[in-house]
Symmetry: D2
Subunit: 342 residues, 4 copies
């Protein structure tokens, strides 16, 4: 086992405040199926944070489930989803969207992001009746390569959807990190104003499990609880999810944890840059992609657990991820050990 | 709000030992997606408890999800499921099995149980090519009306499945309560010897969430983890489920909690019988179905939250459920208040 | 092989006028995928016959396919279909509707028909979020037991659908026979005014294959051609279907053939009644259900191919079906041979 | 309307021999659902032609339907299909395979063909549990760009499937044309020896409609007729398909028609080459892809109906298709009119 672990942001359990809240609520008697007081209050807090007072808010267990439910709820049977080739739903969810009957049209991304231009090309190429008509755009923010969408990019995609009668879905498994980028200019309000449905990820930002699924226009969520039940996404003890989001959206804990993760990534980024590492992709969020020269790869990976992202021209790109649980002193110690490697 | 709540066995959170185990594990760094040490050890404990050393064991979030995954894994696209009309999958899961493409052939139950005779009739009536061929029998143990299967009944269903090339699935959302019936004679070993796949319910027996899905012959579970991922049933922090089952299957906690629930139900049953109540259905488990005469219904239901099960000839059957969290003194106090009603 | 065959109304091929029309069109060059001149003209003729000038009209290969497409087009993923227990989709289509993800809620029929009262009960029993919410009523006219809906019954079901936000689908595999019942009072206009989608069966009324699928409000058919393509229901040589319906709806051939089938059924009915046979179910259409006393069953079935419908109290109900191809002299000869049996 | 139509091979109806056979059979009484004498005999003739005496042979209405049924029959729910990017199922069937729950992994083709090397790369890239595991290779022969597979290529793909536990499916919508390529060396026997399931297209080779679906190992077709019924692919008057294939496989009509189409394509190819046209892709079958210089495009397309295949560097590739119905004198006249254009 390596001394350091930057493999992902879900290795640790939950933030202590969340565990305490769960322990407190565990002694109560609560309504089942997400109708408990905690889930209701968490939904209220999220609506306020999104400035979307009418929004339907549900809590589901994980990201793949949320993506699947969104496609099932928003699409007609013959409609497809347009996503960047790097989109999580395309290669990393074992054919989940397709299991719900919908094709993914994968288009080249720009820095891991779906652009309006690429989406428009996919639309042009699929107008014929025998083509899988796009019904929804899928994007992840932050993206799978750690980049974030600007306010203008989101608005441009929104506009395209309006013109073409499409739905816009934002997979926010790492939305906290995206929103907390320094000078990013995108807020929960921005996302709620642009997306037809989006998730706010808890699992990768301090919760034991759970994603909040937000539908700003509640008419689009009619029947959604029936769909959740049908696909096995409704917990009998729904308070387990509600309590966690209630805690995350009290006193700004959600943003505090995301800022912490970003700050540790920045610490790591500057440290590695200082040691001469270059990066495969620029990323202001909690995922870094340093390039390892051939002679460094092996000792680096003996030192630190991380995922290999790709190989090119003698270099290996790896992914390092920080989280709410990453301690500054761990990062510093790791950087010192790195320096010793070189 | 009523003074007492016997509405169900998932109103409370988790047993303190489980919360403590989660808090301990929360500080560790664990592998994701159910490959953590806790999930692996929990699976090992369950295999031992089932005397099924080769069994594949997975942990999923809830019962509807488990039932859906089992149907998807065990059936060919044109195969149907035979279940009792009262079966949970038939009327209480929002069309979950059908959403996976499979018809349910609902047959009359006997005391809420699927009999081999009824299953055989469904087979006879569906042999033609235009009929939805049965591929699996579904039963819940304990059943939706609180009854339990005998060893002989399970073996007879097993034999029918062998003869007809069917799979046998046991929904064990309340399996703990069934196994802990006094003199019941059915053990985890019995179930593992009869069923092709079955669940061991955690949610209704002291866990925050989670069902263990056991496949005694691992060949039937080939690809099952891909299916879980595809349907959104694989938690990034899989240890959340593993830890709970590890704790439940250490020192017999699982059985201890189920016995407690049964004992409180028995206390309630005897108390109510002593007060002159009759019962809609005999049940040795943690669900009771007393019949309320018309004049008693309203005060009874003001006193105690419970579900209405049905009405007939001036009487109302309600369901009272006890759990691992039901305190004996609460039952006694309730019985005293009941006596005062009459 | 028996001397007579009353097994069904699809044993023979197509009426000579249809074969000739196919032969003529076969030499032309036509647009593909249902956009040929014949399909367009057939749609126009059907719209006129239905007094539904805006209706979307598509042609598909068979009844099961039409039913499946209707469910997929009209329902949201969590919605179910209410049908009589005898409904063709429930037990005779190998789980077709369920393969598209939708549950069928089967309710007791009255003379093989779905009543508004039975549908209303199904709605009442499935209001909870965990229940499979009905989204559509399915009825077959004529029904599987040969009965027909009155204008009032159709209007009552229409009204129920309006109140409850449901769709009404009429499976018209034998609609011709239903519409041509003496004094029936239901016309294509009636059906088009009541149903959200319905079929006009060609296969059982003189065509080689083909059902016209009519959607009076074309907004409900948006995307329907994409769905047809997706489910393999769009013929490259769509003219094969269009030509047949063009011929059927020119000069009233469709109704002429249905009246012929009904008349032969009536001839058979009166002849059998004259011989002392009683009937399992009254039916004014091209399906008869005589009851055979035990001693008659074997010689009767040696004389005539037919389906066994059920057995009760020493009698066997069989189904005799006439068609556009049944010759009066065949019926008369059969009746004479029957008389000789007794 | 243009003077010539080379848009596709399904503009005309059926060969006169097929129409006559249908007319003859139309007067008979036949068993329904593909169990008629013609379907049984057609299956026998096809088994003989394939030297696959145990093969299961079914007849379905069209190519998309056949592809969909094959995927549903051969795959487990979490398995995907590997196909060339140009594969018909990927962009031209409105998401049909995905509607059955399966992802398509599209890989770059070589001259429109799926190579073993490309398939192997797709396998390597999708081994992780979160990836959509390939379960089947899909190829079209002849391909969408008119090319054909060699015996060696088919055998190499067969071998890859054996090694990796995959199924091999051959979409033979234009198999006749592929098998009749001069010196091609691939026969029905070759295909039957390599593919787990394949189609023999009737629609594009002289039938009104219909594809024969052949499964050399009948164990892989267990339950297939139930699946056909379920997906609306079983005609009540199954003889309509059986008769056509019976005729096509009597006296070699199937091959005679395909050779005719190929010969007219060759006539067209040589004529156009003689006029100086170059071709986008080499193709020995009944599809040609001439490149039209900019100044020629408009008059060419006024003269002749055809599909635009793509544009590059000032040239437009169009697709010209010949069929069993293309007359030599029409080709000659077209070539003369072309010459006049230049």
């Amino acid at each position: 086992m390596q001394k350091y672990n930057f493999r992902n942001d879900y290795s640790e359990g939950a933030h202590p405040r969340i565990l305490e809240a769960l322990a407190r609520a565990s002694g109560e008697q609560n309504e089942g199926y997400g109708l408990d007081r905690h889930s209701l209050r968490a939904a209220e807090l999220i609506r306020a944070a999104c400035a979307a007072p009418q929004a339907a808010v549900s809590f589901v267990e994980g990201g793949t489930q949320a993506n699947l439910l969104a496609a099932a709820a928003l699409l007609r049977p013959w409609e497809s989803v347009v996503a960047a080739e790097t989109g999580h739903i395309h290669g990393h969810e074992s054919g989940s969207i397709e299991s719900a009957g919908h094709k993914i049209i994968a288009v080249p991304g720009t820095e891991g992001k779906l652009t309006a231009a690429a989406a428009r090309r996919a639309l042009e190429q699929n107008r014929e009746e025998y083509c899988p008509r796009p019904g929804m755009l899928y994007l992840s923010d932050s993206s799978e390569t750690g980049t974030v969408y600007t306010r203008e990019e989101l608005q441009e995609l929104r506009e395209l959807c309006r013109e073409e009668g499409l739905r816009l879905f934002v997979d926010g498994a790492r939305l906290g990190s995206a929103l907390c980028v320094e000078g990013g200019g995108v807020t929960l309000e921005t996302v709620a104003a642009c997306a037809d449905m989006f998730t706010i990820g808890g699992t990768k930002n301090g919760a034991l499990l759970g994603e909040a699924l937000v539908t700003p226009d509640p008419a689009l969520a009619a029947g959604f609880r029936r769909l959740m039940k049908q696909r096995g996404a409704m917990l009998a003890k729904g308070m387990v999810l509600g309590v966690q989001f209630e805690e995350l959206f009290s006193d700004g804990l959600f943003f505090q944890l995301a800022r912490h993760a970003n700050a540790q990534a920045e610490r790591l980024r500057q440290g590695l840059a200082g040691l001469g590492f270059r990066f495969f992709a620029g990323s202001p969020t909690n995922q870094l992609f340093p390039l390892l020269p051939a002679r460094v790869e092996e000792p680096f990976r003996r030192l630190c657990a991380c995922e290999v992202w790709g190989r090119q021209e003698g270099e290996t790109a790896v992914r390092l991820v920080t989280s709410w649980a990453t301690r500054p002193e761990t990062v510093e110690a790791f950087l010192r050990d790195c320096a010793a490697l070189l």
